[in-house]
């Protein structure tokens, strides 16, 4: 089922680990060079920036080529079947790129696979199978899942989950039932992923299952949190927060109980498995529960709420880091607060550039320039937020 052999992917994983260990000084340069020779594989990778740009340009080429075909040769009425053919062609091209050029997370094969699913969904939509419109999200979800399994692209799993969101609309008009169906489908997916994962605990596939499981936990959480659910977000923006009156009281309050129960359960599983993604999903769910608790209960927000949340997050982080540091060699129960990988530092540096600039603009009030006319040194913006109006 997988487009790549397990040995190739294991070799790439070993290469990454060796590079990281050498960077951290755990291996000498001579050791690294000797060991690296044993991890040579035929797959071609590139760095993240070139991957993103090649993904973008492949999307542009395929999109423009298909649009050009329709523009020159055909009218829109005939588009459905042809889109299905283009879907097959895109998928064949992705397979070809992997089989012949041995591309691995290279951007090109990923964009071709993405296009194949999009064309498939739009093709099905355009053919308008009467009474079977539910096929569009259903087939879309299955296609995304196939891409995820075949090429190991984590975001393809997310694509499948988004398609699942569209399914309940075709079966029921009840808001409560929609939430339940989505949560149930995600739960089935979670059970399947957890079962499959147990056979790959120490293989390269564990990473794929880890991300999928984290997405599913978050998906279940969002489906049951009536103040946040993707199905409700648009409604929340237009009509304000959901209230108990829109759902049956037992359902509403059951979901409130669940949003408090789920984050600790997810966190506990993440900690037990030592799974970074599942821990992150649990932490995000926990923070979202704290943020949405007041709207759930119908209580008003106060200006100091974010301050309390921030203080809590800081306290938890400081307590954890100190507690871990006080253990023997800075380790407790197999966890440490120390940095063990060079990748962590790279992420921190990249984040510092982006977040350091953007965050002050987003959490301080907007600057109020005295005059719309620009003048140099006018200083009507920026400054780490030193420009708000009280």
């Amino acid at each position: 089922m997988r487009a790549y052999t397990e040995s190739s992917e294991e070799a790439l994983r070993a290469r990454d680990l060796l590079k990281d260990w050498a960077g951290e000084g755990l291996l000498t340069q001579a050791q690294y060079q000797r060991m690296e020779q044993d991890t040579v594989c035929e797959l071609r990778r590139t760095n993240i920036f070139l991957r993103l740009v090649m993904y973008l340009f492949t999307l542009i080429i395929v999109g423009a080529a298909v649009a050009l075909f329709f523009e020159v040769f055909l009218s829109r009425q005939e588009s459905g079947t042809l889109l299905l053919i283009f879907a097959a062609m895109s998928y064949a091209a992705a397979e070809f790129a992997v089989a012949r050029a041995r591309l691995y997370r290279y951007g090109i094969e990923e964009a071709l696979a993405t296009c194949s699913v999009l064309f498939l969904c739009y093709g099905l939509q355009a053919t308008k199978p009467d009474g079977a419109q539910f096929l569009v999200p259903a087939v879309g979800a299955i296609a995304w899942l196939w891409i995820w399994r075949r090429f190991g692209l984590p975001y393809a799993f997310l694509g499948a989950m988004i398609c699942v969101l569209g399914l309940p609309d075709y079966f029921t008009s009840s808001h409560s039932a929609r939430h339940l169906i989505v949560a149930a489908l995600y739960a089935v997916g979670l059970i399947a992923v957890a079962a499959a994962r147990s056979h790959h605990r120490f293989t390269v596939l564990n990473d794929d299952y880890s991300v999928a499981e984290a997405f599913l936990w978050l998906g279940i959480y969002l489906a049951i949190n009536l103040q946040l659910s993707p199905m409700n977000l648009l409604g929340n923006w237009w009509w304000g927060p959901r209230t108990a009156a829109e759902f049956s009281r037992p359902f509403y309050w059951t979901t409130w109980v669940l949003i408090w129960c789920l984050p600790p359960a997810v966190l506990a599983r993440g900690v037990r498995l030592k799974d970074r993604w599942v821990i992150a999903a649990g932490a995000i769910a926990g923070i979202l529960t704290l943020v949405t608790n007041k709207p759930y209960l119908g209580w008003p927000h106060h200006a100091w709420d974010p301050m309390l949340l921030g203080a809590l997050l800081i306290a938890v982080a400081l307590f954890l880091s100190r507690w871990l540091a006080r253990g023997p060699s800075g380790i407790r129960h197999g966890f440490t607060a120390r940095r063990l990988s060079g990748k962590d530092k790279q992420w921190m540096n990249a984040g510092a550039v982006g977040l350091g600039i953007l965050s002050p603009h987003s959490f301080t009030p907007s600057p109020q320039p005295d005059s719309p006319d620009f003048r140099p040194g006018g200083g009507d913006s920026g400054g780490g937020g030193a420009s708000s109006d009280f």
């Binding site: 080429i61 050009l68 974010p306 997050l313 921190m348 600039i357 109006d389 009280f390």
Partner: protein
């Protein structure tokens, strides 16, 4: 063959010692499991939420709380943060210095944000400098630069560059609507100044690892400014040449230093600018779509060549 089997083999071949084998085997199994990144994200999110709440509370309740209380609390918080940083920091060095502990960078960040908040409050309530925000921003940028270099903090350096951008009249939220010529000139001046300063400081060995921050911010501002000139359609040739020059420089730097973000900037910003110029001269959807197919293929071929020649990871 899994990494564990490989490690066994390398140990048997005598490439790694038994101690290294035990350590690396543990690390590859997540033993010990590092929570470093998670704790950092939690601290950052906590500081951001805390200061957001503080700002919201101060702006909402300033009448009820009174100036004295607000300024006392903010000043105490500011003093506590800076006292903590100055008392715990390692001796200054021109080279990269590690933080003494996990919380250090975030205490400094909290202090800087509190400084901004207090300054804003002071000016809005007492108009000490009669609304001359440029002086505040100039002083804030200066202070943040000093702190960033004293405590080796990229977070604070980003704040300093943001404050300096504010002094130049730049802010991200203004980009879509304020693209007049004056604004553009100052954006370019800012980009050149930031890039030049970063390069000079790096050459002098003064926190050379900050160069990436300067260059990334400078390059993005420069490209936005040049692109806005291309979009405006006045003096198009000048801006077109400027865009080509910027793309060439970014590409050359990216390839020479293996910093592929600059290759990506050159490819994306350059393609957008040139496409804008060409598409406006094309007639009909067929010509436009043909343009995208042909140029897209050309760009992809070029990127694949670059990736094979310079950017291969395996």
């Amino acid at each position: 063959m899994t990494i564990y089997t490989r490690l066994e083999q390398w140990q048997e071949q005598g490439i790694i010692s038994p101690e290294q084998h035990a350590l690396l085997r543990g690390l590859s199994r997540g033993e010990p499991f590092s929570l470093f990144l998670e704790l950092n994200i939690l601290l950052y999110a906590g500081i951001v939420a805390f200061v957001a709440g503080l700002g919201w509370t101060v702006s909402t309740w300033s009448q009820q709380l009174g100036d004295v209380l607000i300024l006392t609390v903010l000043s105490m918080l500011l003093a506590a943060c800076f006292w903590y940083c100055f008392s715990r920091a390692a001796a200054w060095s021109r080279a990269e210095v590690s933080s003494p502990n996990l919380a250090f960078d975030y205490v400094l960040y909290l202090g800087c944000l509190t400084w901004s908040l207090e300054l804003t409050y002071l000016e809005n309530r007492f108009h000490l400098l009669s609304g001359q925000w440029d002086l505040y921003l100039w002083a804030t940028a200066g202070l943040f630069f000093l702190l960033a270099y004293r405590f080796d903090s990229r977070f604070v350096l980003s704040l300093a560059l943001s404050a300096l951008a504010g002094w130049f009249g730049l802010t991200i939220s203004y980009w879509p609507t304020h693209q007049d010529a004056t604004y553009r000139q100052y954006a370019i001046l800012y980009a050149v100044l930031v890039t030049g300063a970063g390069a000079i400081l790096q050459r002098r060995g003064l926190k050379a690892h900050f160069l990436g921050t300067y260059l990334n911010i400078g390059a993005n501002v420069l490209f936005w400014a040049v692109l806005s000139g291309v979009f405006e359609w006045q003096d198009a040739l000048v801006w077109y040449m400027a865009l080509l020059g910027a793309c060439g420089a970014s590409l050359a730097w990216g390839l020479a230093r293996r910093q592929f973000s600059f290759v990506a900037y050159a490819a994306v910003y350059g393609y957008v600018g040139i496409s804008w110029i060409v598409i406006r001269r094309l007639q009909g959807a067929t010509a436009v779509l043909s343009y995208f197919v042909v140029t897209g293929v050309a760009m992809l071929v070029m990127l694949v060549m670059i990736a094979r020649r310079f950017g291969r990871e395996a």
